[in-house]
């Protein structure tokens, strides 16, 4: 194991040090070290069960960590929540919920509106502006159960955009969306990049990863390699990421996750 710097990188939008996660049936993550460079589009790529979503969730404190440190813009997450926007997998919510598209996008502003304060017309206008960016303004009043998969994904992105964050963490935004939505999403991500924002995206398609993203984190329960796309996406690295499971790592991981159960 190469020696590495154990102090978090204070410039990086996201800096992960020695993160280990083992929690109830989620894939186990080992000693993750990663710095997300600012103003880049970064893909997290790896096979099924490699812990891509687990990484995002544990970074955001949705899953407990066994050890390790994560900082955002050099600060703990609790201090900079509003600068970090999370776009969960769209299948994680009930789309039959009795709200319309604008309501969902407005939820991205709740944090800024604050406790017990009502949503006002200005907030609604802001949410509508976010919807315009994802080209769904005319769907604002539509009940969310009437959306297609791609539209659902764009609504989620609009909710994150409404938050006006500096770092965007997207969990499988391209899963099961139509080609038009995929193009629209990547176009939006590029716009974010030109505005100096950073996006970390869980992605499952190697082919498009090279085309869409600047950097890549190859993950398979551990960081196989990370850095600029051209340097990292070598056949050797891909073989190490995708080629066969490491039997011992797997077994120890399973036992740890049993112990990590609460």
């Amino acid at each position: 194991m190469p020696l590495h710097d154990h102090t978090p990188n204070s410039d990086a939008p996201l800096s992960i040090r020695d993160l280990t996660v083992a929690y109830h049936r989620q894939p186990v993550l080992w000693d993750i070290d990663f710095d997300a460079p600012p103003g880049r589009l970064i893909a997290i790529v790896g096979p099924n069960g490699a812990g891509k979503s687990t990484l995002i969730k544990s970074v955001l404190e949705l899953l407990p960590r066994l050890s390790g440190e994560v900082s955002f813009f050099g600060r703990p997450f609790a201090e900079v929540r509003q600068r970090v926007a999370y776009v969960p997998q769209r299948t994680s919510v009930d789309w039959d919920f009795p709200v319309n598209v604008l309501d969902v996008v407005t939820m991205g502003l709740y944090g800024r509106i604050g406790w017990c304060r009502p949503v006002r017309a200005t907030h609604r206008r802001e949410a509508l502006a976010a919807l315009e960016k994802v080209e769904l303004a005319e769907f604002a009043q539509r009940q969310i159960s009437q959306l297609s998969g791609g539209q659902q994904q764009r609504v989620f992105l609009a909710r994150a955009l409404a938050q006006q964050a500096d770092l965007y963490l997207l969990d499988e935004p391209f899963a099961g969306v139509d080609a038009a939505t995929e193009r629209a999403l990547i176009e939006l991500l590029r716009q974010l990049r030109s505005a100096g924002k950073t996006a970390v995206v869980v992605h499952h398609d190697l082919q498009t990863a090279a085309e869409y993203f600047d950097d890549v984190l190859l993950l398979n329960l551990r960081v196989v390699a990370a850095g600029p796309m051209a340097e990292v996406l070598t056949s050797e690295n891909l073989r190490r990421t995708y080629g066969g499971k490491l039997a011992l790592l797997d077994q120890v991981g399973h036992e740890m996750s049993l112990r990590g159960r609460r």
Binding site: S92, V99, N100, I113, P118, R120
Partner: protein, 489 residues
């Protein structure tokens, strides 16, 4: 005012606070010799007090229940209410031992009920944390354990020499007739608090219900808000135990929001409608049992709520069975008219080619039999569609008994044919379908095309727009075994 409207929780609170403070005073004001009419005679002072209290409770249950319902945690209400029973019994024993005869003072019983309900939920959470048991098993265990404990205590109390134990079992099925003015004020005050909390934290509860993971990343204390919902449910259970009874209060928590869901797709309206249904069924239950002696009011309230549910299921504006049936019928009628107009257009198109007429309206008329050959119709369908088209003014008959399109009919028919052919062209050019087998597909899909998609098709296939020109049928080029091919010499 505008912000209040945008924030339905506030509105609910305002309206209900008004009811809380408004109704009892009104009730007492009317309680004079003026109340001589029959209705007033039936509604004795006591009944009116009970009515106000239970209606408030119903509204409160409807509002809190909506949050349970949206979180899909309806059974939590069951656990809370069953787990409250041992608390009621223990509180009775404590009060009785402190001051004999005061065992049934409502405040103390409520406190005990609330405490043991929360203990039940804590047990449930404890079991859930071990992650060894599925949720439903944990629910069943806690619920029956606490309820069993309560029944044991109840039977012990009933064997005590004190006479005041009689009627403690009323808390199981409710007996609103026993409510006193003081009880109603207590219930009203607590309801108001519950509704104010619901109103103030409406936005926070909503985001946690919809997307808890997102709410966590936004810094909302999801666990605390979860606990708050438990506290609210406990509060309404405790408030409701005398009116509806512990065993039935869960019905008043869950049935109103479930019924309201058939009427609306907006959560704000959902809460309002749910509160309304709750209040109405509680009030009508009390009224029914007041005019019919020996009817268990708590149970009648639940039956009323169930009736409201069945009505909603059948006639709800958003999802009711009748609404869905009508929607489907409208779609069918629309599709039928579309087919008829398109067939008419194609017939007219052919006649235009054959005759020297200059436009759609002046071409020679045709008979129904001719139209029948234009496409395959669902057996028996054509005459009905035809009559509808005549009634709608799309088609008229001339003196010779032949039919013509009216100006409006010609316009509509042209649009229908155009939409159909654009869709066919799209399928052929972009989806790689062969002209011969494209027609049935086009038929199915085109009835669902909304204007937005039609516009997109236009820009894709007819960039020149050519004044709503109808493209030629793609079927005309390859020979096709239709009357069209035979008729063209």
């Amino acid at each position: 005012m505008k912000t209040v409207c945008h924030h339905p929780g506030w509105l609910v609170s305002v309206v209900l606070i008004w009811i809380v403070w408004g109704t009892p005073s009104q009730a007492s004001a009317n309680d004079g010799p003026v109340a001589t009419s029959q209705a007033m005679a039936i509604l004795s002072y006591n009944t009116r007090i009970v009515l106000a209290g239970t209606a408030l409770l119903g509204a409160c249950c409807g509002a809190v229940g909506t949050h349970l319902f949206l979180r899909r945690r309806a059974l939590l209400g069951d656990v809370v209410s069953h787990a409250a029973l041992p608390g009621v019994c223990l509180a009775f024993l404590v009060q009785e031992s402190l001051q004999p005869g005061s065992g049934k003072s409502l405040g103390g019983l409520m406190l005990g009920a609330g405490a043991s309900a929360l203990a039940g939920v804590a047990c449930l959470e404890g079991i859930r944390r071990t992650r060894r048991l599925p949720d439903d098993a944990a629910l069943a265990i806690v619920l029956s354990l606490f309820f069993g404990l309560g029944v044991v205590l109840l039977s012990i109390i009933q064997r005590l020499p004190t006479g005041s134990a009689a009627g403690l079992a009323d808390f199981l099925f409710g007996k609103p007739a026993g409510l006193l003015l003081g009880d109603v004020l207590l219930i009203g005050g607590l309801s108001a608090i519950v509704l104010i909390v619901c109103g103030l934290l409406w936005k926070e509860l909503l985001v946690v219900s919809f997307d808890a993971a997102f709410a966590v990343t936004q810094g909302w204390p999801v666990r605390a808000l979860d606990l708050l919902v438990v506290l609210l449910v406990t509060a309404v259970t405790v408030i409701g135990m005398q009116c509806v009874g512990l065993l039935l209060v869960v019905a008043l928590l869950i049935i109103p929001p479930a019924a309201a869901r058939y009427w609306t797709d907006r959560v704000g309206t959902l809460i309002l409608v749910s509160s309304g249904i709750g209040a109405l069924s509680a009030a009508s239950g009390v009224l029914l049992s007041a005019i019919t002696p020996k009817l268990a009011a708590g149970a009648v309230i639940v039956v009323c709520a169930a009736a409201a549910f069945v009505l909603s299921l059948l006639f709800g504006f958003q999802r009711g069975a009748y609404h869905r049936w009508r929607q489907q019928r409208r779609a069918q009628r629309h599709a039928g008219r579309h087919d008829l107009l398109r067939a008419s257009f194609e017939l007219v198109e052919r006649k235009l080619a054959e005759s020297n007429a200059t436009d759609d309206v002046t071409v020679p008329g045709w008979s129904l039999a001719q139209l029948e050959t234009m496409r395959s119709w669902t057996p028996g369908r054509l005459p009905g569609l035809w009559r509808a088209a005549i009634r709608d003014g799309f088609v008229r008959a001339d003196a010779a008994g032949l039919y013509h399109l009216t100006a409006e009919g010609a316009r509509q028919a042209r649009a229908a044919a155009r939409q159909h052919r654009l869709w066919e062209l799209y399928l052929i050019q972009y989806a790689g379908r062969h002209p011969v087998d494209v027609d049935p597909d086009a038929d199915v899909a085109e009835h669902m095309l909304d204007p937005l998609i039609v516009r997109e098709l236009e820009s894709l296939l007819q960039p020149d727009h050519a004044a709503n020109r109808v493209p030629a049928s793609p079927h005309d080029a390859p020979a096709r075994a239709t009357p069209q091919a035979e008729a063209t010499p």
